[in-house]
């Protein structure tokens, strides 16, 4: 079978029956049509394959963490940093021995946004030999703006992480197996949900869950 896109070609066009998203102008093998779309302020989905054709901005974020466990030990510790803004969403997973200051390359697309304002989140995780979290030495967040080709300093104060227990159930359709369960909280802290029972469910099955802090709050 040929590549899926081999039989399609595209160029930009718009008509009243179907809205064709802008990536057609940049990426000849991808198009999206919204049948019946009438609103004037749509949020159209842009496939990432189109991004190589767009202008990229790149900034350096020098993040300095206070609190937590730093210098970070070489084993069993991970620092997760996440920069989120309307234009940029980027995760940095830092393992091994690192100091309290880290240089992050933040990139985003679009010529109209040389500066993007967002929030830098951080969570340090201590894991056991199997890789499961056993402690969260610190969590913090700070608002910051980054500008294309500019180095910006950001201070991130890590504070102790609280935990809570969240209970509920998940019923999956027959034949399906759960890959993961993740949570996000409306509170400033965030949660990862792990089934406290087996990870190899029968279907349908209900999963009691336990809340642990993590970065999934950032999905909101």
């Amino acid at each position: 079978m040929p590549p899926e896109h081999s039989a399609w070609r595209a160029s930009p066009r718009l008509n009243s029956a179907a809205v064709v998203t802008p990536q057609m102008q940049a990426f000849a093998a991808t198009a999206a049509l919204y049948l019946g779309l009438t609103r004037g302020d749509p949020a159209l989905l842009l496939r990432s394959v189109a991004t190589p054709f767009l202008q990229e901005n790149q900034a350096t974020l020098e993040a300095t963490v206070t609190g937590g466990t730093y210098p970070q030990p070489a084993n069993d510790f991970t620092t997760n940093l996440y920069f989120a803004s309307p234009q940029a969403q980027q995760i940095f997973t830092l393992t091994g021995a690192i100091g309290a200051t880290t240089s992050l390359a933040v990139s985003w697309y679009g010529p109209s946004s040389p500066t993007t304002s967002g929030t830098l989140y951080g969570l340090q995780v201590q894991s056991d030999d199997s890789g499961l979290p056993i402690a969260y030495p610190g969590y913090g967040a700070t608002d910051t703006s980054v500008t294309n080709a500019v180095v910006t300093n950001a201070s991130l104060a890590f504070n102790p992480v609280t935990s809570a227990v969240l209970t509920g159930s998940v019923t999956v359709p027959p034949g399906f197996s759960v890959v993961f369960i993740e949570g996000h909280s409306s509170s400033p802290r965030c949660c990862r949900w792990l089934p406290s029972s087996s990870w190899t469910p029968r279907s349908p099955r209900r999963f009691p869950t336990r809340c642990r802090p993590s970065l999934e709050r950032l999905w909101e």
């Binding site: 070609r9 049948l35 399906f176 409306s186």
Partner: protein, 142 residues
């Protein structure tokens, strides 16, 4: 809270946002994926007039995934628009794959394309379910 489940190539996602960390009785229970109806799997002789159809999913907007083309629609049937003017057309005697992803709750494509805010998602159970991959081959003159 987000749950991802798979059944071979079929996907199922249920998400409920805005939960308190100590919430109780949280339930995530979304329907399984739509059933592809037409063209039948491995059908040959498909043309641009062939109607794609699938079973209904409650309060859903559908994404027909066909090669590099994604068609969002509120209907369970889609006939590909005439895209020849933009040089988008099925190639003759060519195998293709297609899937349908249903996302709910959305009342219309306009609703689906509305700018998302945390407030609009806060109390909603979001469901997404994608069918197994289906195959077809176009006719010599699609």
């Amino acid at each position: 809270m987000t749950v991802l489940a798979v059944d071979e190539g079929a996907l199922w996602v249920a998400a409920r946002l805005g939960l308190a960390a100590d919430a109780s009785g949280v339930s995530l229970d979304c329907p399984g994926p739509p059933t592809p109806l037409s063209p039948s799997n491995n059908q040959t002789g498909v043309t641009s007039a062939t109607q794609f159809s699938w079973s209904a999913y409650p309060e859903a907007v559908y994404a027909l995934l066909l090669g590099g083309l994604t068609v969002y629609a509120a209907s369970t049937t889609v006939t590909l628009p005439d895209l020849s003017s933009i040089d988008f057309q099925l190639s003759p005697s060519t195998p293709y794959t297609w899937q349908v992803a249903a996302t709910s709750p959305y009342a219309s494509v306009d609703d689906f394309a509305a700018p998302t805010t945390a407030a609009t998602q806060a109390v909603t159970l979001l469901c997404q379910a994608q069918t197994l991959t289906q195959n077809f081959t176009t006719s010599a003159t699609p």
